[in-house]
Assembly symmetry: C2
Homo-oligomer: 167 residues x 2
């Protein structure tokens, strides 16, 4: 009976630690903390890249969405955070002409702070890879070299999509 | 002086009525009221239709997003509202292989209420067209006939995209 009780205790403890583990935020990427709750941010735009067969949604925190909706995007205001969520292409089973999200690739973010990130063009650059959100730490030059063509657009590719302003 | 005061009053009144007009919600579509604030709902999926060259984001109200994230989508729960926002394709100037949102086409919605909408398969079907959000009132059969291939998926084409569950 004592062994059985001990086993039950161990099982309960294991279950508890698994829950705690999945509640923990991922480690930092390029010294930037994980932007908790981004999954529920509002949409700024979408895109489909045919060079690497990925679909994307571009999300923003409240500061970024407000700036996007009012056209204040060059420069974007401090504290704006833009998130790009990337999935590999797949085909919708019931509508073959529709390309839809397949495997999740990564979520990458730009954090605007013109002082704090003055050495990287006013933005903090971060990425978390895969559904387990492994931090990307290969250096911000990987991000900025790709974004160089849009240095005159405050380093942002995205044009905010047109949304009706009506309530 | 009296005429000048009258003119100023008229100007103020005109400005006030313009403000009120743009604050007003659009008229009903198929007897359904406009889902105020949908522009800030969270993302469930995205899609790119190559048969009519449109990009879409599929949004949901809180009930729908919770259901999508936890896989409770066949059937979707009552009070779930799904929104599909549609733009014509265009090409991103600084990254030619990226298709991005051009002209806004319409926002269309499915409102789940298995009792209230029992005659239209448990969903209310509505659409508002253009940036001025003109209500679509050509009959719900326009919607349901197109959705018939997915009648066994609770009439919904969308597979919710995979999102990391980490906080």
């Amino acid at each position: 009976m004592k062994i059985r009780k001990l086993m039950i205790s161990v099982l309960i403890m294991s279950a508890t630690s698994i829950t705690i583990a999945s509640d923990k935020s991922p480690e930092q990427s390029h010294g930037i903390s994980y932007p908790t709750g981004w999954q529920n941010w509002s949409t700024i735009a979408v895109s489909h890249r045919t060079d690497n067969n990925t679909l994307r949604v571009i999300l923003g925190n409240e500061v970024a969405v407000k700036a996007a909706r009012s056209g204040q995007t060059n420069p974007w205001p401090d504290d704006a955070v833009l998130g790009k969520v990337v999935w590999k292409d797949t085909q919708l089973e019931n509508w073959k002409a529709a390309t839809v999200p397949g495997k999740f690739v990564h979520a990458e973010f730009m954090f605007k702070d013109s002082k704090k990130y003055s050495e990287t063009y006013g933005w903090g650059w971060a990425r978390w890879v895969g559904l387990d959100q492994k931090p990307f730490n290969k250096g911000t030059q990987v991000c900025t070299s790709c974004h160089t063509p849009v240095k005159n657009r405050d380093w942002v590719f995205t044009d905010p999509a047109a949304f009706p302003k009506l309530k």
